[in-house]
Symmetry: C2
Subunit: 85 residues, 2 copies
DNA sequence: TCCGTTTACGGGGGACGTAAAGATA
DNA sequence: TATCTTTACGTCCCCCGTAAACGGA
């Protein structure tokens, strides 16, 4: 699991589409799709249901979305934490 | 910032030495030292004071240690989050 | 047939390991 | 001088981008 995978996952969950999420993340679709698959494989969980109209979160995916957001928020707060008094 | 960097950072903070932390993480010293430096550069903060006897946390480093542990704990909890009901 | 996702394949960047150099008590 | 950290350098692996193929309404 990597922070990049978490960011991709959140973007896809919010956009409902790999292609839109890829544009938002300034990356092309294939790498994003691969990272999503790799994340699902590592977690042994299907986070999305694939449909021709896009990606919809599974129940596991919905739980994981909140978790991923917490992690990314902490990461974003890191600079403030180390800022000198 | 990467999860690997956070794991290295926590290991060094706990071991007080890059060489011991490297053994614990099954990596050699140079990569670990590089990752620590890269993390410090990215955060624009000196997390450790280097001494011949090892590494000691700075005040910023001490604050960041708690933060890094929270992040890594959430990451470790990910499998449980996605486990089906 | 069309939209979106997924694989193939070639190229580039980053991380590691060994070995040597630097720094401090 | 002895210990620990840091750089040099070569190698390998992983990720990305383009292009083509697959799959469902």
């Amino acid at each position: 699991m990597s922070l990049t995978q978490l960011r991709y996952f959140v973007a896809v969950a919010e956009e409902g589409s790999v292609s839109r999420a890829a544009r938002r993340c300034f990356v092309s679709q294939p790498p994003m799709s691969r990272q999503l698959r790799a994340l699902e494989d590592e977690l042994s969980a299907r986070l999305f249901a694939r449909t021709p109209s896009g990606m919809t979160l599974s129940s596991e995916g919905a739980r994981f979305l909140a978790h991923a957001r917490r992690i990314l928020q902490l990461v974003d707060e890191a600079p403030a934490v180390v800022r000198p008094d």
